[in-house]
Symmetry: C2
Subunit: 527 residues, 2 copies
């Protein structure tokens, strides 16, 4: 028996959707649908949400940024108070372990992001206020307008469309958010929405500030993205759906921040293997199987030179992949997609060293998988061998020499990250120099002697990268304040009377925002 179909949150009202169909999320641990139904919205839901968001934006523009900070803080407190319930439902929908993952890692990260966003909203340094006193010209970034956030399946809290990084960034700037829940965790998203709605009421924010729908048809999704009432989109998810929506947004010149896919190449130089082979096996396996490999920054492709150490590394990794528990995948569709990607790699000639097929039973799971190719194979078809196998699978690329490895690097698509391991004595330095510049050019974040999983919420983080990892190589989705800029427009105030300018551009600077004044950064007031 299922409950009645759940409601959407539109303009501060929980109400029945103009639904065209219903769907239920799956409990991937059981491989069974949960006893709860969610609506597939028709266009009228989107239309009403857009109108409410536009109206909320008009009101927001007249409100102090302090109000936004208070909303974000209240919302964080309500989430914290409901932590156990959120962890329970997210576990049911995602199969991710309650502890440490959901309760002790992702929940604190989510709260931290919301509170950092609140602090950024309060201080306004994120808006890069720039003042030319001589020319009487001042500029800063300002809210862009209503933002639609499409969240991914793999972070039910930290990237949730109604509580995660894109949400926090868009709100902190001063934009209403229409959240499109990920279909794999609608109940988690709904539980967040209840709290967000409560926070909106308790802090007196406009009713269209935060809205939630669960799913639309593809056609309505495209119509939503191109609607003039919407100003920008944050999207994290599959490449094919993302590129389709991006093309629609591009046609109408609308910023579409897409985080698509990434194989996150890791290069092991020979000195590193000589120096600390066992440690590197351990380090890689921990990262590679973390969250069953379902991180955007999962190291999915390892490049190394053909020698005895490499043979030992491969044997070590394969043994550990065989011995390790097989984690649960986020959904049946992740399972299907992983099996398909492994097939593509195999069909292209990759040698299957381990795994490769679905684990028996109803649980969503694929055996831990190790595939191997030569550098020569990679160079013969670099496109197909960069197929992302999202989940607990890895492709090892064994190159005959550093020249071949460098050629492989030159063929890499844009990625979120690239890592290079080298020894501590300098024997790898020449090889490092041969490949580092080309790898750096192809990634958003370059790491030394470190796995790419673990994306610190730091002002210096870049969780971004060249296409097709994202849609633009100049923006990060993680790291406050930098991630906020995505949902802002640059506005210049030329000889505008002082009281008509945003507070952060006025002479008095009591919030202590950092401002670029006549070429120098300062956080004081003007005369």
């Amino acid at each position: 028996m299922t409950n009645p179909t759940q409601e959407v949150l539109i303009n501060g009202q929980w109400r029945a959707s103009s639904q065209s169909a219903v769907f239920s999320p799956t409990n991937p641990t059981l491989g069974q649908p949960l006893a709860i139904e969610f609506p597939v919205s028709q266009w009228s839901d989107c239309d009403e949400a857009l109108t409410a968001a536009a109206s909320a934006f008009t009101k927001l523009r007249t409100m102090a940024s302090e109000a936004i900070a208070l909303f974000l803080e209240k919302y964080a407190s309500l989430i914290e108070a409901d932590k156990d319930g959120l962890v329970e439902i997210a576990h049911q929908e995602s199969g991710l372990p309650k502890s440490p993952r959901l309760a002790d890692v992702e929940m604190p990260r989510t709260l931290n992001q919301l509170r950092l966003a609140a602090a950024a909203a309060r201080k306004q340094s994120w808006s890069m206020p720039t003042i030319d006193t001589k020319a009487n010209i001042r500029s800063c970034y300002q809210a862009i307008g209503p933002v639609c956030v499409f969240g991914p399946n793999n972070f039910p809290f930290a990237f949730n469309s109604i509580a995660g990084g894109d949400f926090a960034a868009a709100i902190a700037v001063g934009n209403p958010v229409i959240a499109k829940a990920n279909s794999s965790h609608p109940a988690t998203s709904m539980r967040f929405a209840v709290l967000a709605d409560k926070a909106v009421r308790e802090t007196g924010m406009p009713s269209g500030l935060v809205q939630l729908i669960y799913r639309t048809s593809h056609a309505d999704g495209e119509r939503l993205v191109s609607d003039p009432r919407l100003s920008a989109i944050g999207y994290t998810g599959s490449r094919s759906a993302g590129l389709q929506l991006k093309s629609v947004a591009d046609r109408v010149g609308k910023p579409f921040y897409a985080e698509l896919s990434s194989v996150n190449p890791v290069v092991f130089l020979p000195g590193a293997f000589r120096e600390r082979l066992d440690k590197l096996i351990e380090e890689y396996v921990t990262s590679g199987l973390m969250a069953t490999g379902q991180f955007c920054t999962n190291p999915g492709m390892l490049l190394m030179l053909d020698n005895a150490d490499t043979t030992n590394f491969i044997e070590g990794v394969t043994a550990k992949y065989r011995a390790n528990n097989v984690g649960t995948l986020l959904s049946r569709s992740v399972e299907t997609s992983l099996v398909k990607s492994i097939s593509i790699l195999k069909d292209a000639g990759a040698e299957l060293l381990l795994g490769g097929s679905k684990v028996e039973g109803s649980r969503c799971a694929v055996a831990n998988t190790v595939l191997k190719i030569s550098g020569k194979q990679f160079l013969a078809d670099p496109h197909v061998f960069q197929t992302e196998a999202f989940g607990n699978a890895v492709l090892l690329v064994v190159c005959s020499d550093i020249t071949e490895l460098a050629q492989a690097i030159e063929q890499l698509d844009g990625n979120l990250t690239g890592s290079i391991y080298s020894d501590s004595q300098g024997s790898d330095d020449a090889n490092y120099s041969l490949i580092a510049a080309a790898l750096t050019q192809r990634v958003g974040r370059i790491l030394n002697d470190k796995m790419p999983t673990g994306v610190a919420v730091s002002p210096a983080m870049n969780h971004g990268g060249p296409f097709p990892a994202t849609g633009h190589p100049g923006f990060t989705a993680v790291g406050i304040p930098a991630s906020l800029i995505r949902f802002a427009k640059l506005t210049c105030f030329d000889s505008v009377r002082e009281h008509r300018m945003p507070v952060v551009l006025q002479n008095d600077n009591s919030s202590g925002a950092w401002r670029l004044v006549d070429g120098n950064w300062s956080n004081g007031s003007l005369e």
Copy 2:
């Protein structure tokens, strides 16, 4: 008698183009072609230029930013030494007055931009170095790779694809530039290229740093823009050609910075007219006819309320437009396009108060033109009444009341600028509040009591704006250092050994770059 077809500059060599056809620029003052022929390149020219640019980029990545600064300074000096020749040829090709325009305004601006770009390259503050000492994560913007610059027709110096703002920004970041000359001033561009080539040699820069082609087929232009060897595009020009190239770049996720078209609405509130009508007539006419109205920021649409002052304003403007000299337009195609835009506006119902047709004779010129519509007419078809009439024509929108004017503002497309004139006593303040937020949201730069022509090269300038004025509302094409960011990628260095990071991220900071260190901006070294 024409001279032999001119040569293209590819990989440091002046050589015959793989031409498919030839063309000659027109002297618009005479309405006659100049006795000089330029080639329309076939793909092989583009292909060779792309390979040379990629090779130059590999070399550039190993060079200190000081080398780039020295190149830009040398190039500026060579331009300054050849100033008279450049002014002469640019005058012949563009019809723009030698003095003050070309010699005394645009030339100094161009030199200033190149020198500011050199200073930015030297100091590296533009790269927004951000350091998290605790997490050992550091990030900055870095060169994106080879850039193609398509320059506009209206600034033969300051926006020239091989000497102007986009060129200076792309080079200062550390990118090679393939310049696509504007077809209306190829000889000016070639003269710059001779100097750029000389500067490349004299400062020991890679031979593919600066290259020049004049024209390609549309198909080859699209192929150039989407080629994997090219990393970004700067485009200033017509909306239709720009949108076509943008769509090609978008499909392959390549940053395409387009500056397209803008009508630059100016609102006159009633108190301003009451207070200083004659002054405002003078101020507007000077700005509106400056450079025969051929500025990106030309005030092409004036909005005001229907009253006696407005009637006087319109009479005053019309009288001055009638009395003023009729300037020469940049080319026959600008003339054709202006006549066509005026027809579109007339056909849609605009009343022609003055001008509207080509001036007799061979010179490229259209009579100074004034068109008028009501606010009601505008609201009935806001799309057609935002047709840009590039040149010496203006559309006056006379609204019945402030509500109607506010509704008109809500219908505006994205523009580079928006201006509001109000009185000094506060009688316009309520009206200002009614319209300012909506206008600000639709423009890149909002002005008070000031015409939008005159785009100061200031760090606080934004020469940009929402689509379709540009392709992304977060970037400016004018203002150093901000304009440089367009041609850069954000790169994070996560636990990368210090000597392997860019100089600007290392502990020592002897260039004195401004860096965001643990949340605070400073220009000193780390411990």
